[in-house]
Symmetry: C2
């Protein structure tokens, strides 16, 4: 970090929320659990395709449509609309990862402003944080739906800076996704990767300035 | 179609080539075959992320890096570099789908100009078409590597029009990928979807002007 940040910008899906239960919902409806990973990659692929082509659609609509493609032809235990609803409703029941509460509270205790910036809806983030008792630690839950374009387009990060009344250079994006770290870095934000799995970071993306295995290590690494 | 096209622009990976043997290469190295689908979605996701963020990298570099992420932690039967090479080398051995030769020849017989436009390298397309005896039916094999940005960004389709010395409106993109149909349509090209699987088309993408189950049906649908 070239200077101490004033705002920490959290990605939501997978960074704060533990999406593992979504795989169980695939199994519930008669689909293989590993399809959850393929579906989520396809959801982001298609959302980013629209962004690259200069357009944008709500995350939930892309999730729904990509799910119908992923489930096509499988011997489901219920009709397709019910199966899609069962998987999508899973987002409303997720918990945060075990390292999140401590990490969030230590950053707040250091006087940093905390916001979320999701490609999903603000209400999903609001519900998640309220459910786990962390909503009061966050100043705002921002969604790219109000920016008109998804991360990792630079405009999505600039929207967050504008909404917070600060410069992108005063902000640090925290995410588990390399594409998010890369996009934030290109837009001029500081970056921190949470790498819980210890997996490799792709060489084709801008590396993070900070890498932590747990969110609870971030305040120490930031030196705040 | 509002007017008879003069140039047919073929996507390459999965549209012309049958990528099914790539899954066998995952199994060869000790990974589950279904990981091929997840990996290819992640490859495109990351390539499109760079496009959305205003950057670009060669397809083979993204394929290699995304494969290292996909294979991380799996009990492979060889070292990681050899496993990655074995999967990536699979692209050099693919065949075309059974409907391709007849489809290509009927479009050529109608006097249409044929080119390919791939997010992959031109040499992969050149090798594929040479291997199956169809190279002489194509005027050029184009790659987005010469456009500086990937499909589905509008500039990639405009690059193809410029390279062919015609207007995008005189061209029809042929692809199996809804994101490619959507991007071409937004850029002003005609569009034809080859839907061999009969799967659903996502509601969030611009629908194709023409849909065929086999490439060999395309010349009839184009009315040429």
């Amino acid at each position: 970090m070239t200077r101490t940040p004033t705002v920490i910008v959290f990605d939501v899906n997978e960074t704060l929320s533990d999406m593992a239960p979504i795989a169980s919902r695939f199994i519930d409806v008669g689909a293989p659990g590993h399809l959850a990973t393929t579906w989520f990659a396809a959801l982001l692929r298609d959302g980013f395709a629209l962004t690259a082509a200069g357009s944008s659609m709500p995350f939930a609509e892309i999730g729904d449509g990509a799910l119908r493609v992923a489930l096509a032809g499988l011997p489901l235990d219920r009709d397709l609309d019910d199966a899609v609803a069962h998987v999508m409703d899973g987002f409303r029941t997720l918990d945060v990862h075990p390292d999140v509460a401590e990490g969030v509270r230590s950053l707040r205790a250091a006087g940093l402003r905390l916001v979320t910036l999701s490609n999903g809806s603000a209400s999903i983030a609001e519900d998640l944080l309220s459910r786990v008792g962390l909503r009061q630690d966050f100043e705002r839950c921002l969604s790219v739906e109000d920016a008109g374009l998804w991360k990792p387009a630079a405009g999505a990060y600039r929207y967050a800076a504008q909404a917070c009344g600060c410069d992108v250079g005063e902000m640090v994006l925290v995410a588990v996704h390399p594409w998010d770290v890369d996009g934030a870095a290109r837009a001029g934000m500081g970056t921190a990767l949470v790498n819980r799995s210890g997996g490799p970071y792709p060489a084709y993306f801008t590396p993070p300035q900070i890498t932590v295995a747990r969110l609870s290590d971030l305040s120490r690494e930031l030196g705040v």
